[in-house]
Symmetry: C2
Subunit: 129 residues, 2 copies
Amino acid sequence: MNIGDVSSRSGLPAKTIRYYEDIGLIKPHRSANGYRCFAETDLHKLAFLGRARALGFTIEDCRTLMALYEDESRASADVKQLALEHLAKIEAKIADLQAMHDTLGELVKGCAGDSRPDCPILRDLSGEG
Amino acid sequence: MNIGDVSSRSGLPAKTIRYYEDIGLIKPHRSANGYRCFAETDLHKLAFLGRARALGFTIEDCRTLMALYEDESRASADVKQLALEHLAKIEAKIADLQAMHDTLGELVKGCAGDSRPDCPILRDLSGEG
DNA sequence: TATGAGGGTTCCAGTCAGGGGAAGGTCAAG
DNA sequence: CTTGACCTTCCCCTGACTGGAACCCTCATA
């Protein structure tokens, strides 16, 4: 398989696939003409990576997850721990965003949104002046 | 005021303040020795920027907000629109993160987390194989 | 046989919002 | 006079790609 095929079958852009090779996540063979030559296992790995990235895991997490996946003697505890740490980071981000959302929502609610200059949003940003 | 004073009074790192000057958000004067020389208005602007950034506005949004703030003849509608657009982006991010959280949470719940290799998280990532 | 389309390759630069650190100038205190 | 705390500019680094330039390969068509 050439990179275009793997790209459409995995849903990942060709650029991303080349990047993943660059950083050592996959190691496709090369054809005589220099083209990358992907096996089914490469495609499978890329799909794995795509799903892990979609769950928000960092590239380094993905590297670890792949290693665990390929390690038949892994302990599921290791996978779970990684997932729990990631879950905690997601929760922290949600909490941050929620706080912004609540604050900004309040300010927006108080803003007339008309042609006059008076605005509680700017008043708040300027330090209640 | 030197940059150290402004830094501690605004809560922004000196690096950040220099960066904000670099991209034209503030224009402090210079003393004879080449040091930046901040007026109270600069400090006020930096505090404004710090609060806007804390609400998650991008630097470009901050630039617009500052311009609106300094424009006495602004329409609060313009401020409100910017804020509403930002609010929508925050909501979209929260929704994304929440979806990740829910999916990953389900997978984690099903994972024994013991010394055995069997793991629903990896099974899901590998495509249910 | 030329040529054009549509693959593929490498490498460089840019994104966003700064952070880290080097090399060097300035200032007040001891 | 020296020490230490400031300040300056400069350049590289981050994550996870994305865009583009310049060039090569293959196949179909005129």
